[in-house]
Amino acid sequence: MRHLLSIGDLSKAEIEAILDRAESFAEVGRRNIKKVPTLRGRTVVTLFYESSTRTSSSFELAAKRLSADLVSVKAAGSSVDKGESLKDTVATLSAYEPAAIVIRHPHAGAAQLVAGWADAAVVNAGDGKHEHPSQALLDVYTLRRRLGALKDKRIWIVGDVLHSRVARSNLIAFKAMGAKLTVCGPPALIPRGLEELGCEVEYSLDQLGEADVVYALRLQRERMQESFIPSIREYATHFQIDSRRLGRRQLLMHPGPVNRGVELSGEVIDSPQSLISEQVASGLVVRMAILYELLAAGDETPVPATGDGAGQPTPIGQPA
């Protein structure tokens, strides 16, 4: 794997290899010293043109846990404010010879452009409304831990699909893992032609009971001004996942940040079915696995598996 630009570039086997790797990092996370020397002496740049809590902090911590040197650039307060183009910013940062550039950008295709300009491995940490492949990987990882295989599980993605890069990457990833998919939301927030990604489209939650997993998306409040929906109140009435709608055996996910009382009611966020905190925890180990897969896979000398043999993830080096 040279870059991680689109989840569609990965086969099921490649996705599983990354998730297996993440499992072994979860083991590292249970040690007293949570750091491994894998990327010692190598530089990781994170370049964020949009605000982020989860994605930026988990990529930064992932790089540090792997002992990489980290340069963290936020567009606000950088030369981007002075009008520097993406191409020139990337050229500038490339002078440090980074091994990887992790980029979030408000426009589709930005990571792909950077991959064309830089020698570094490029990770797409969200490009516009296009893709968010590391989110998809951590969501599959989280679900795999709970459900085992995703094959034939029915997953409903509910909410503002039109503006969601998470929905796009997750549809591709869940489908690759064999899940059955339904997207649901107000018609103006479901992009025309989405069925061709291989999902069912519903405009009401009436059939939500069939879902094994309910994946709710964030609804930005300004969507009301743009007439995508008439009012937040009407949206919440029709599409909010609350304890009345969420069954006991159904799992709940959300990429965060949540608008409490809009797409989710407070009580389901904190319910036992909610995987939201697990998603965040998964984010760290999956992003460690992504950086490892891009920068260190192939360097390793195979170490005999400890424990019970086949299917066991490759152990990671000793604590630093």
Partner: protein
């Protein structure tokens, strides 16, 4: 009405023989092999193959080559005044000549837009010193393309404006377009329309459909174009005005024009090579250089509808919508990139490769549509009939070349087919009776 006067640089009139050339002029009904003799810039004779005497003329061995009436492009952005870093009259008309065009119309959405008689006069003067093909200039319909008040259309016509267009933007106000159509009865000049409902297009950057849904890009629905065409065709019909619809992209649009033509509206329209060769599937590349333009690339069904429209005459002509942009305006993410691609140098070759060679379109029909853009603007169409001014595209239909491998005549390189291998190449162009383009060739002489 006398033919509109276009401007180009004065130069030496051509005197040459295209020996054994295959002459194809569907309008004049010529499709046979000849020695085509040009004297003093005019087609003097179509002699039998090998029959013309050299008589001091330059002799070109054109066996295996085709002579077509040189092409006419009613939709070119020369970017003058104000955006000469993208293109200017010299480079843009060189690109036109390299594509086999003898005449083009320049759009008025420059910086500032062409809205005054003085603008037209200075552009015409510039063309007379720098243009290597005939150029006609359109003026804007509304002052500075602001969509608020009409330009001085009659004065602009007297200064030599060929027609009117706010191309780049639609005329949002039906009332204003209606006034322009009324005024047209006084001053003439076809009104060329960029049809798009800004309310429906929103901030869209590509066709709305399965591909935009997958890419998470805001879509421009087909009905954004077709509803405006229906509105404006109704206005033109009501006022007895004359309109030319630019760059059709959607099947619904072809149907809207077809209905209007059947109803007797004075309406003509054009389609661009990129819309005839590509679909929105290409946008999966997210390559802004080649695949970002407005109107956007649409679906295969739309492409087929455009081809059918070209075939049955609903679409009058091919127009390139040659839209040069500087690299820094394209080396950005897709949504931020400037709209438009260049096309003058590749139009014929691309359509020949993608539509004629696979048998989709007849060669004669393509040649006819490549100069079909003259009539809607009352420009004289090039002809290979003896006595005509020499406007000739000499083509090698078997030559293969890679777009951009030797650079471009255009100042910009945002070709929609850059890097593609094409079959069919313009090897020489005569425009306005002058030789204005020769393909550079490199041959090893035999050592003496």
């Amino acid at each position: 009405m006398s033919p509109a006067q276009l401007d180009m640089r004065a130069g030496k009139s051509a005197d040459l023989i295209l020996r054994n050339v295959t002459v194809l002029d569907p309008v004049a009904g010529i499709d046979s092999q000849h020695d085509l003799v040009v004297r003093d810039g005019r087609i003097a004779e179509l002699a039998g193959p090998g029959a013309a005497s050299t008589d001091g003329l330059e002799e070109i061995d054109a066996a295996g080559l085709h002579a077509f009436p040189a092409f006419f492009d009613p939709h070119v952005h020369l970017r003058v005044p104000g955006q000469e870093h993208k293109e200017d009259i010299e480079t843009g008309t060189r690109a036109a000549a390299a594509g086999g065009f003898s005449g083009i119309l320049a759009m008025a959405n420059t910086a500032p837009p062409v809205s005054t008689p003085a603008d037209i006069e200075s552009l015409r003067e510039a063309a007379r010193s720098a243009a290597s093909v005939r150029v006609g200039f359109l003026a804007t319909v509304t002052n500075a393309m602001a969509g608020e008040e009409l330009t001085e259309m009659a004065f602009l016509r007297e200064a030599g404006a060929i027609g009117f267009s706010d191309d780049g933007l639609p005329i949002r106000s039906a009332r204003l377009l209606r006034r322009a159509l009324q005024y047209q009865h006084l001053c003439g000049g076809t009104i060329a329309l960029h049809e798009e409902d800004p309310e429906l297009s929103g901030a869209g950057v590509m066709h709305e459909g399965a591909v935009s849904a997958t890419l998470g890009l805001e879509g421009i629905p087909s009905v954004s174009e077709s509803t405006m065409i229906a509105r404006d065709a109704a206005l033109a019909g009501y006022e007895g005005g004359r309109i030319h619809v630019q760059h059709l992209s959607a099947s619904e649009s072809v149907e809207a024009v077809r209905v209007a033509k059947a109803a007797g509206v004075q309406i003509s329209c054009e389609a661009s090579p990129h819309h005839l060769c590509l679909t929105d599937e290409a946008v999966r590349s997210l390559d802004p250089h080649r695949h970002k333009m407005n109107p956007p690339l649409r679906t295969e069904a739309d492409r087929q509808a455009l081809i059918e429209g070209l075939r049955d005459g609903t679409i009058d002509c091919v127009a390139t919508d040659h839209a040069p942009h500087a690299p820094e305006e394209k080396e950005v993410p897709f949504e931020q990139a400037a709209m438009g691609v260049t096309g003058l140098e590749t139009a014929f070759a691309a359509l020949h490769t993608d539509l004629v060679l696979p048998g989709v379109l007849d060669l004669g029909l393509l040649v006819e549509r490549m100069s079909g853009g003259a009539a809607p603007f009352d420009v004289a169409r090039s002809s290979l009939a003896p006595g005509s001014e020499a406007n000739i595209a000499l083509c090698d239909l078997t030559a293969e070349w890679t777009v951009g491998e030797n650079g471009y005549e255009s100042r910009s390189s945002n070709s929609w087919c850059g890097g593609q291998r094409l079959t069919g190449q313009v090897v020489m162009t005569l425009a306005g009776g002058q030789v204005t383009y020769r393909l550079r060739t490199f041959s090893l002489g035999v050592a003496a």
